[in-house]
Amino acid sequence: MMRDLFKKTKYVQMPIKQKQVDIIPEGVWIKCPNCGEILFKDDFDKNNGVCSFCKAHHRIGAYDRLSQVLDEGTFVEMDKELSTLNVLNFPNYEEKISKAQEKSNLEEAVVTGIGQVGGLSTVIAVMDSRFMMGSMGYVVGEKITRAIETATKKKLPILIFTASGGARMQEGIMSLMQMAKTSAALAKHHQQGLLYVTVLTDPTTGGVTASFAMLGDIIISEPGALIGFAGPRVIQQTIGQKLPEGFQRAEFLLEHGFIDRIIKRKHMKEELHKILLLHSKEAFYE
């Protein structure tokens, strides 16, 4: 009894959960889901969704992304009204869609349009992981294909920011076919000698990785983004061993030669402008 009083009790240490939560929209303070530090929300927003302590690049919405990259007031959205119909009658799919629409204020998981980066026109598509984890069904594939076709027709470059868990299960084989459709549209753009830049953001996996994400003339990534074909959980289950540290992160892909550059969010616009300039007509004459 007495002895127990002096015993040093070992308490379980709780690690900070690396939960991929959306940054809490309301409130003045937020907690970084990566390092657990408490951040002042205004600072966090000014920092473009990057933690000022651990520098983790958190997931951000499509319109926030557009405003970070494009010149103010230049964005003209395309196909905004396109939304998904559950023609295959997958159980509870409509409810999932409406919930995602409510949560994200988007019709679907990608926003497309034309805008300018430092005065240079480009077609742009930005995926949004808040909408059913950015999964690609018919509408996502169609909007991206139309964006590519617009770029081909107008002889413009195209920038695609990817953020997706892959093909959308509820649309079955038709989701899979979007991989072939987008890739074939890119081939036509490619044959015109036009520029395609992809920016891979957290997370980019599955059918999106295995189609347009990996087909850029130049492939950029944000630091720390998860990029892969199979998700880490599936691989771990398949091979039954622990995955190496940093596996499938942007830095891992750079090392293995599958992306060109890792660019911090605060430098993204500047970097994209330089790349667009290097491929613009002006570059030949100046």
Binding site: V139, M169, E171, G172, M179, K181, I227, F229
Partner: protein, 315 residues
């Protein structure tokens, strides 16, 4: 007793009668012919009412003919070619050249093993990036020599593993999809067993995609699907029912051009007959595709995917 057991029991009875006839020279011909008739009816009934999960099970059986079975029966003078020229030779896919009724063709087949030992060697038909790159190398070679391309699809999916990710599984599949849309020769893909995910699509992005009657083709294996949507891979059977993964489903959806009927008992029971059917269809279709102007061929191929599922949105 389910249908399958009934068939099994009748089979055994018939075997006994055959034996008896031989051993004791008693004439059972009447009984035998009656039983045979009954067995055929039962089989016809059984095989025309397979559930999606029955089909998944059927195509995963070791009796199911694999790509090499068809290649050997369909092509003359087949010469296998190896390697992706970058990393290694992926044995989960075989490729090569041969004659299809005097037409030189390139053939690519995702190859499962006939035995457990061979299955391990073939990685159960699950390709690594080097497998897709080998396929693309051979397809480009086919284009150089104006040879049509035939692909046999039979994979649970692209392999998930550390090496596969390190060597760019996603990039390899994506590259195939883009390059295949530009290849200036006809491409016909036939799903002979399991068509699983992007790993199947990476050799099925051509001019015609056909499926054998009992084969399946889906966004993911039913196990993977159940695991992602319901966090429980043991619900694979339920998943198969809602996935719309049978040949008929895909034909109805407009995702494939043709369902090839299988002989009684499935291709499993009569591989040679199955191969003959496929061969005749391939010859006919390839001749037709070879007559097309290249620009028309490519435009049709593009539109094949462009128009698919166009009722799936509102605006």
């Amino acid at each position: 007793m389910n249908n399958n057991d009934k068939i099994e029991k009748l089979h055994n009875k018939l075997e006994e009668l055959y034996e008896l006839t031989k051993e004791q020279s008693i004439d059972f011909s009447f009984e035998i012919s009656e039983l045979e008739k009954k067995l055929t009816t039962l089989k016809e009934n059984y095989y025309s009412h397979l559930t999606p999960w029955d089909k998944v099970s059927l195509v995963r059986m070791s009796t199911r003919p694999v790509a090499k079975t068809y290649i050997d029966h369909i092509l003359d003078d087949f010469i296998e070619l190896h390697g992706d020229r970058l990393h290694k030779d992926d044995k989960a896919v075989i490729g090569g050249i041969g004659f299809l009724d005097k037409i030189p063709v390139t053939v690519i087949g995702q190859q499962k093993g006939a035995t457990t030992k061979e299955n391990i060697e073939r990685n159960f038909g699950m390709l690594h990036p080097e497998g897709y790159r080998k396929a693309l190398r051979l397809m480009k070679q086919a284009e150089k020599f104006h040879r049509p391309i035939i692909c046999f699809v039979d994979t649970p999916g692209a392999f998930c593993g550390i090496g596969a990710e390190e060597r760019g599984q996603g990039e390899a599949i994506a590259r195939n999809l883009m390059e295949m849309s530009m290849l200036k020769v006809p491409i016909i893909s036939v799903v002979i067993g399991e068509g699983g995910s992007g790993g199947a699509l990476a050799i099925a992005a051509g001019d015609r995609v056909w499926m054998l009657e009992h084969s399946v083709y889906s966004i993911l294996t039913p196990e993977g699907f159940a695991s992602i949507l319901w966090k429980d891979s043991s619900k694979a059977k339920e998943a198969a029912e809602v996935m719309k993964m049978t040949a008929k489903d895909l034909l109805d959806l407009g995702a494939i051009e043709k369902v090839i009927p299988e002989p009684l008992g499935g291709a499993n029971a009569q591989p040679v007959e199955m191969a003959d059917t496929i061969k005749a269809l391939l010859i006919e279709e390839i001749k037709e595709l070879l007559n097309l102007d290249v620009d028309v061929l490519l435009e049709n191929r593009f539109n094949r995917f462009r128009q698919m599922g166009s009722s799936m949105y509102s605006s």
